[in-house]
Symmetry: C2
Subunit: 592 residues, 2 copies
């Protein structure tokens, strides 16, 4: 279950593995020509790892910094910190290719230990890959040890505490290794929520969300994760940055926005001050049908520009609707047109209740209504203690979390907001489908990665990719991505949805399914290269919320241009002069 | 009138100069002991300027780049580009001190000319001070020529066009020298507005708003200016940056947020792509009375955290309410308690009108509904042509502009939003005062700087300063600023209001009035130093929307810490290796 270690060669809890429905098998066989792969996945013990390159004295020095119990070099631990969760990552792991394994996994227990590790590794030229939930899908975790004494994965799993809650300011201070469901469990006793529910929710960490600029399924209501970060502490090899004295400031460039998205290449986030909101009460998910993707896009644009905006807003294109991807329980039995999912929520209580009313606090935690006094370490609730405090034992998935409120305020009942949005959707040509499609989406909202594992095992390559652009450019971007994928893969199934909207534009999220060739990694890498080039050429951004890592790095450099790249290189050279931090990720080397 | 050159020694249009009401004179005399100054202000022709340091060949090279008509060295032009509009700036100018004048004022006509000027000045070590509206109140325009061949003011006044309007994406592309009222006039034929109305509105430019992270009076509805910027083109001595392919992206750090707030120290903004909104229809301003500032603060916090948020929200403290500063027409006849001003607006038409309905386009402009095709230069409307197109000749102040809509959407009528907010305000202890105080505020919203001129002439020093922090820290910040001012100035009048709110915190804006001493500049500089230190010590940011310039630079460095400062220095060294860009502003020199 979530909270336990994830399947090393795939996604999530092995107990939740999904059988492919017969209609999906038929689709793979008849439409895509998928045949079972020749070679089954290997067992964990058969993964081939390189020998540990780090010399013993350095391992000893690392152990001196964090304690010998927290420097791990076992086969299993190294395998579990090898690569992320992109399809090429999984294909390689299933084939037993552990060549990208770190030499050691190091688990610091405090900001000070992180800072000391970075000083040590900088002096000894040890590459450091910060590791949160391990859910990167863009090669964010695959450091090259070339030119270094070795590579360590800096696992932030011990930094898993809620440090303080400022009920007055709606700010909670977390350590970076807190996984998203734990964050919701820790906030629940205060009646608060982050409202951040990306597909990686079950395993990803808050530090990872910040480092990679995550965006969740309720982004229309709660904003992106970078909107939630009001303060950051970052340890770098040359010292500590402590950013965020006010929600917004005119005091120069916003350096929080330079650290958000820095993917471990500038430093390691050791503390996050996050905007929180009162957890929602009433919720409702609904489906609407539009005749075409263009019609549906005009409708979601109307909601984004004129309101009212639901907390969740997702529009599938014709192919995704036909396949039924938005309703994983019944995949393969989709329908015609384009399915739109809208989710609404209202505040936990009537608007006449003062927002300053403090919820009952858990006995082991203290909350500050006067602000900045953090909990002492002894008082800070751990994930375990907070979970025990939830009387009904429900997970965040069952309770607090499911949808977002209106950006900036939970004002208005579900009924009022829903009727306002329904008027817009109907005017724009939508046909209401009631709550069934919305509830089906909500039940399956985190299941797609499990489905991918089953598809990979069945001989299909399935991967997702995404971009964003301004509204007027979306049709061009949509066509460019589809054409690039079809050009590279022959007759793949290409599905798309819009799930993050802004006044000036939106994201496009693609799911591609094709039959595995003899070299499925090479097959996908060629397609990925083509689609990256197409996105850059069509004026989109190379990623809306997956991040850059290594898979998007060259396209990112093209998007940014040489002056932009030189800025990143200058910042990195200043903060990380020996280049130990996640080498190869995000930033092209200065000589490139 | 706005659009004409501003009073060189004060603010705005000399014809709008204000006589001080007798009750204000009495207040100054009886409460503050103000006596008329010994020395009257000098005339423009008597301002003492340094001789032009730039050698003739360099002046010739500048003229070759932009045309000799656009390299100006006359006494009047130099005086008009000397310093900004802080109180020390005005006191110095009134005393005839033009020691900070640039050697020449250069007006480029294109991005390419800006880029070429920067290359030339970098090679020849000529300091460059970008000059938009000239409204800096933090010493943003006062370059030191020390170590340089000379100093030029790079006046962006010729870059004054609306380049394109993307009606579908709600994005307008402007040149940086467009003044805010002109921007509203240029957008009005499209039925659009920026919604950005800072107190500097009448003279400030869009490029300046971006470079200094401006925030307007309707920020609760429209957001800050940095929220409006979706794309930027920046010329630097080492090349051009072109940022913003999507509203939001996970492609690395958001470098737009590194250029916003860079105050001309990294480059010169030559193009801005700005989010625009449909201009509002119905508007309504109201007043409410709260017993104490703490009660009122709790009420604005409730609106910021739970909604509904008015477009304009401003809360005066007890002193500001007593003086009546929020209603400049009747200043000196204030009341007890704390005055809150709330402004509401609704969309221009019923919510059933499609947002994609294109307004009639002016004959000389073309708008793209398909997106990115910019107007050719010949098609681009100039400020002059667009003004002529407005049939009724009204200024933006009379029409389009006065209040903001709800963040992200104009959903909901004035009546609905107002009744929701009124319920919160009443529950939190507010007493409704009807529309009179709101309308009085709205009439006087841009008049405070005119009032300052009259006060300076009468022998009072009046200045404003501001900070921001998280809600829980605001009382500490409020007390710290007041104590520092009282400690430094004896018995000044210190007034405060909150006018920018966020879910997690708010700004505090202070107005200080004291009797001028023999050396009023030195008197204020001592107070400013004390209050800067108090803000840093109390955990606030040194500026919420005035910017850093030179007056906040050292406090900014303390706020940021040495690692943060080193990041700025590294970026500057990369983009501006000879350090010609606005030297001394924003970033402490590396040796400091």
């Amino acid at each position: 279950m979530p909270g336990e270690p994830m399947l090393w060669s795939g996604w999530g809890d092995p107990a939740l593995a999904r059988e492919l429905p017969e209609q999906v098998r038929a689709l793979l066989r008849d439409f895509l020509g998928v045949r079972a792969p020749d070679v089954p996945a290997v067992g964990l013990e058969s993964v081939r790892l390189p020998t540990v390159a780090l010399p013993e004295p350095l391992l000893g020095a690392l152990a001196e910094t964090v304690g010998s119990a927290y420097v791990l070099t076992s086969h299993e631990v190294r395998v579990r910190h090898t690569r992320g969760k992109s399809t090429p990552d999984l294909l390689r792991m299933r084939a037993g290719d552990g060549s990208a394994a770190p030499d050691a996994v190091v688990l610091p227990g405090s900001h000070e230990e992180v800072a000391e590790l970075l000083r040590l590794c900088s002096a000894e030229r040890v590459a450091v890959v910060p590791f949160g939930g391990g859910t990167s899908v863009v090669g964010g975790l695959t450091a090259s040890g070339s030119g270094f004494a070795g590579v360590i994965a800096l696992d932030l799993g011990r930094l898993d505490r809620l440090r303080s809650v400022d009920l007055e300011s709606h700010v909670a201070t977390f350590e970076p290794g807190v996984r998203a469901p734990e964050a919701e469990r820790l906030l629940a006793p205060y009646g608060l929520t982050l409202g951040h529910f990306p597909q990686s929710f079950e395993y990803a960490t808050l530090g990872g969300f910040a480092a990679a600029r995550s965006s969740g399924q309720a982004s229309a209501g709660y904003g992106r994760f970078d909107d939630m970060v009001v303060g950051l502490t970052v340890a770098t090899p040359t010292g500590t940055l402590d950013l965020g004295r006010a929600p917004k400031s005119a005091a120069g460039p916003d350096l929080r926005q330079l650290m958000l998205g820095s993917e471990g290449a500038f430093g390691v986030i050791t503390s996050l001050r996050l905007r929180v909101r009162r957890a929602p009460g009433e919720r409702r998910f609904e489906g609407w049908r539009f005749g075409t993707f263009a019609e549906g896009t005009a409708a979601v644009r109307a909601l984004a520009q004129e309101g009212p905006l639901p907390a969740v807003l997702r529009l599938s294109d014709e192919t995704e609707t036909m396949i039924g991807l938005a309703k994983p329980d019944t995949i393969g039995s989709g329908s015609s047109g384009c399915l739109l999912i809208a989710g609404y929520e209202s505040p936990p209580s009537s608007t006449t209740e003062p927002p300053s009313s403090a919820p009952a606090l858990p006995a082991s935690a203290s909350a500050s209504t006067e602000g900045a006094s953090p909990l002492t370490p002894d008082q800070a609730p751990t994930a375990t203690s907070a979970r025990a405090l939830l009387s009904d034992g429900t997970s965040a998935l069952d309770g607090v979390s499911s949808v977002g409120g209106q950006a900036g305020s939970g004002w208005g009942s579900v009924a009022a907001r829903r009727s306002g949005a329904a008027a817009v959707l109907a005017r724009m040509g939508g046909e209401p489908l009631g709550t069934e499609p919305g509830e089906a989406w909500e039940r399956g909202r985190f299941s797609a990665p499990y489905l991918r594992d089953s598809l990979l095992a069945a001989g299909a390559t399935v991967e997702t990719l995404e971009t964003a652009g301004f509204w007027a450019n979306l049709p061009r971007l949509y066509d460019a991505v589809r054409l690039a994928l079809i050009g590279a893969l022959g007759s793949p199934l290409v599905m798309c949805h819009i799930s993050h909207v802004y006044e000036t534009g939106a994201s496009l999220y693609f799911t591609v399914v094709t039959a595995q060739e003899g070299d499925p990694v090479g097959q996908w890498e060629r397609a990925k290269e083509a689609v990256n080039a197409a996105i850059v050429e069509a004026g989109g951004t190379i990623t809306h919320h997956h991040g850059v890592g290594r898979d998007h790095r060259d396209a990112y450099a093209a998007e940014l241009g040489p002056v932009g790249v030189s800025i990143l290189q200058a910042v990195k050279a200043r903060l990380d002069p020996t280049g130990i931090l996640n080498p190869g990720a995000l930033i092209p080397p200065p000589t490139a």
